[in-house]
């Protein structure tokens, strides 16, 4: 596992070159190569790494989940969130509605049917995971760009990326709160209380405490990278550990902590963020490999049917919903339109691709509930992501009709448009 991960990391500089090609960009950004490597060394392949052996490294993997959560949370600076175009917020809101109604409904029906004969299967957790995984889309747009798209195409690309990032936060939140709601109870002595009542509150307190303490400790660390790293790793491990003890997703707890840290004044976090983000590729490789090892390819025809339904829903509902949300965002004021989005573009189809955070959440579920059902769900999520990626790659975009050919104004913020701050 270590050798394979090191080998994949060693290809990182070459990967940058390969990503210039659209197909390779799609493959590498989705982590499919690393996942295939994991599958090959896992029980489905050469059986060099057993899932049970891998789960022994739980402390490191949980810390990794915390790292990712904190990385996402640190992006939630108030000024950045406020600078997001209204259209992007509407776009994400529309996506959430579509996901809850369509995917939530479908997941409920399918999982109850799939696991109808299985006593004790965690159907509710499965529904939460499928729902959370359905929110948002892959942020990578390089593989979908066509030549000569112009500024409208670029604007759409920005909207897709910004919407995907915001939706990832929502997805982690749904997953975190959903996992708590479907979890067990917490008790202090004789005073037992449902986990969903205490855990989120404690998580919020933890986030505020660690946010404030983290800021203080970063101040103490000064500009020394080694000292900052100690603080960062400690915060990540502590938050992930407390979340694990409370039965809350480490991703979610760390996201909240990151958001608090990002919005407290006093210490410049830019250097800190730089080295956190620098590990993004390595973490993606590691988690994709872990997912590959933990996969259970024998999900049967029923499981495969669930995958096909989810892929079908994503391919039909998501691009349409994104297009509808953006195209109806005409400037409602008398101001001239600040930007336009194309009527037809492959980028709309990009919304059918699953967010990479879905795979991370699925791995998180297997780590917190190491059961066969969780592995099956991980497989469903991974296969859905893979098939959506493949379909998007081969899908053709019809030429726009005359009525549709006029670009539609997209209200974008001045910051995103590069016109300076308001």
């Amino acid at each position: 596992m270590i050798l394979t991960a090191s080998g994949l990391l060693a290809t990182a500089p070459f990967a940058v070159r390969w990503r210039r090609g659209k197909t390779m960009a799609a493959l590498i950004s989705g982590g499919w190569l690393a996942m295939t490597a994991g599958l090959l060394i896992g029980p489905a392949g050469l059986n060099l790494v057993e899932p049970t052996t891998l789960l022994q490294t739980f402390p490191l993997l949980a810390t990794g989940l915390g790292w990712i959560g904190l990385m996402v949370g640190l992006q939630l600076r108030r000024d950045v969130v406020l600078a997001l175009p209204t259209s992007v917020r509407h776009l994400v809101a529309m996506d959430i509605v579509v996901s809850v109604v369509l995917f939530g409904g479908a997941a409920t029906a399918m999982l109850y049917w799939w696991w109808r004969d299985r006593a004790g299967a965690s159907v509710h957790e499965g529904i939460v995971l499928v729902l959370a995984a359905s929110v948002g889309w892959a942020m990578e747009t390089r593989s979908l760009h066509s030549d000569g798209g112009g500024p409208a195409q670029e604007r759409l690309s920005i909207a897709i990326r910004a919407g995907g990032s915001l939706a990832a936060v929502i997805a982690i939140t749904i997953f975190g709160l959903g996992a708590v709601a479907t979890g067990g109870s917490l008790s202090a002595g004789d005073l037992a209380a449902p986990g969903w009542l205490i855990a989120p509150g404690l998580c919020a307190v933890l986030a505020i405490f660690m946010g404030v303490a983290g800021r203080f400790m970063l101040g103490l660390a000064g500009k020394h990278t080694a000292e900052q790293l100690a603080v960062f790793l400690g915060v990540v491990a502590f938050v992930a550990g407390i979340a694990t003890e409370l039965g809350v997703s480490a991703l979610f707890a760390a996201l909240m902590t990151g958001a608090v840290m990002a919005n407290l004044k006093g210490v410049d976090l830019r250097r800190f963020e730089r080295f956190i983000l620098a590990a993004e590729h390595a973490l993606a490789v590691i988690f994709a490999m872990v997912a590959g090892v933990l996969l259970d390819p024998m999900i049967g025809w029923t499981g495969f049917g669930v995958v096909l339904v989810l892929v079908g829903l994503r391919q039909t509902a998501k691009p349409g919903a994104v297009r509808f949300a953006l195209r109806t965002q005409r400037a409602t004021t008398d101001q001239p339109a600040r930007g336009e989005v194309p009527a037809r573009s492959r980028l709309y189809g990009g919304a059918a691709r699953q967010s990479p955070i879905a795979m991370i959440m699925a791995v998180g579920l297997v780590l917190s509930h190491p059961t066969e059902s969780s592995r099956e769900l991980l497989t469903v999520v991974v296969l859905t992501g893979l098939l959506c990626q493949l379909v998007t790659m081969v899908r053709r975009v019809p030429a726009p009709s005359v009525a549709e050919s006029a670009p539609v104004a997209l209200e974008t913020s001045p910051t995103v448009d590069g016109e300076g701050a308001q």
């Binding site: 103490l220 100690a230 390595a282």
Partner: protein
């Protein structure tokens, strides 16, 4: 003062939060969570809790290190103190099962520390100063074996409550004396980095500590074999088979050389994600050495020495990354060492502990001074060299447990239950604990007095070369 109060408040809040979460989560979250469905895997008790344990140790030790700096002590003393306070023997915030699972982090730390130590050793210096290093190491070994061995023989005869039979006293005293020769390269390298020390004194003590580690393994194997023979105990394992010694050391050096060449090639041809690759290599080295019954410390040392001396330019960025990883690694490593320390043991067996510590310090002092004087070393090495060798090595504890395990019958007096530690084991562990606290303080003084402290040029404040920014 205000900073100290803030640090203390943060420390208390951290520990308090962890305790509150544990109380709320109940005794066994692991079994509660996987009680339904067909479990693929059952987390052992303590595995899940290890995550928060790691967080507490990292942040708590780091904060205590900052506190101890405020009172002019070494950071390492702070790390160890925090470990003692939260460990299973005092407050039990970090429980024994968590410590067992933290072994993985400890293995990683040992490998990284050894990489760093290896990277500090210049073979040209060793060649130039071979006589001095041999004299210092030889002087120490001879004096420690004679004085500590003799003192322990006397203690065993005079303190019957230790339960060592008169005819067992000599061989056991010999093994104890061998364990007492060990010094900690980790403390030496950590303090050298903390004090940004450079110079002849620094090079001499570091190289001697590392060389002594190699000598220790050979000596321990010989002592266990001889003592086992005298006591009529088949101590088992590799230390009873002298023929395996060469394979043990040779294998460790060979594995280290392979890893060193591979890492140098990686840095030269790829050079990306150095921190992750280094962590992976350290884990890999520890796992391979463990499965082949080799010594990870020596293997990583060999890798470090090879990289520094054969590929110095190619691996400069790698050692910079090791340096950047040093603070979290040292914090966890020394805090875990503190967790293993039982201060209560000191109360019951203090006369033997004090004798052992005092005689060991005296023997190391005499040995170092004598060796350095004969070799014509500089005055600072003669005067202050001994301070580097007081902190016992991490391997000392391992050797104590090995002794306790192999010679259990000989060490355990009648009436002491098997679940309890034998009195001599308590003596040795307490002595190690005491020296772990005192050692860094003494070496900090030694570095300052030698004039080497602060001579290394500090890195630029940005400290974020593109290659090394991938933690």
């Amino acid at each position: 003062m205000a900073n100290a109060v803030r640090i203390l408040m943060t420390l208390f809040a951290l520990v308090g939060f962890a305790i509150l979460a544990r109380v709320l989560a109940g005794d066994d979250t692991s079994t509660q969570i996987i009680s339904t469905d067909e479990a693929l895997f059952s987390y052992g008790h303590g595995l899940r809790e290890t995550v928060v344990g790691l967080g507490i140790l990292l942040l708590g030790a780091w904060l205590t290190g900052k506190l101890s700096q405020l009172v002019k002590l070494s950071k390492i003393t702070g790390y160890i103190l925090f470990g003692i306070l939260v460990g299973p023997h005092v407050s039990n915030v970090i429980e024994q099962p968590e410590l067992d699972f933290l072994k993985l982090a400890n293995d990683l730390a040992i490998a990284l520390i050894a990489f760093a130590a290896g990277g500090e050793i210049e073979l040209s210096f060793v060649k130039r100063s071979l006589k001095m290093i041999m004299m210092i190491v030889g002087g120490q070994v001879v004096f420690v074996l004679l004085l500590v061995g003799g003192a322990m023989f006397g203690v065993f005869r005079m303190l019957p409550e230790l339960g060592i039979a008169p005819d067992h006293a000599l061989p056991i005293a010999m093994v104890v004396a061998v364990i007492a020769t060990a010094s900690s390269p980790a403390v030496v390298i950590a303090l050298i980095e903390e004090m940004r020390a450079r110079g002849a004194f620094t090079q001499a003590v570091l190289t001697a500590t590392v060389c002594k580690d190699l000598v220790l393994l050979v000596l321990f194997a010989i002592a266990m074999a001889i003592s086992g023979g005298i006591l009529g105990i088949d101590s088992g394992g590799e230390h009873s088979l002298m023929g395996h010694l060469a394979m043990h050391l040779g294998g460790s050096l060979a594995i280290g050389a392979v890893v060193g060449v591979a890492l140098a090639a990686y840095v030269h041809f790829v050079g990306a994600h150095l921190a992750m690759v280094l962590i992976g290599a350290s884990f890999g080295l520890a796992l391979i050495a463990g499965s082949l019954d080799l010594e990870p410390l020596i293997a990583a040392l060999a890798a470090g020495v090879l990289m520094r001396n054969v590929y110095p330019e190619q691996t400069e960025s790698l050692f910079e990354t090791v340096r950047e990883l040093s603070v979290p690694v040292y914090a966890v490593f020394f805090a875990v060492a503190g967790c293993h320390t039982d201060p209560a043991a000191l109360v019951t067996v203090w006369p033997a502990v004090v004798t052992l510590v005092v005689v060991r310090v005296l023997a190391i002092g005499l040995g170092t001074w004598g060796g350095a004087k004969i070799a014509g070393a500089d005055m600072s090495t003669q005067r202050w060299g001994w301070t580097a060798f007081i902190s016992p090595a991490g391997v000392s504890l391992a050797l104590v447990y090995l002794l306790a395990q192999d010679f259990d019958q000989a060490l355990r007096p009648e009436g002491v239950a098997e679940s309890e530690q034998a009195p001599l084991t308590m003596v040795l562990i307490s002595a190690i604990a005491l020296q772990q606290l005192v050692g860094p303080i003494l070496f900090k003084i030694g570095l300052a007095r030698s004039g080497d402290a602060g001579r290394e040029v500090a890195p630029p404040p940005s400290g974020m070369a593109p290659d090394s920014a991938d933690q």
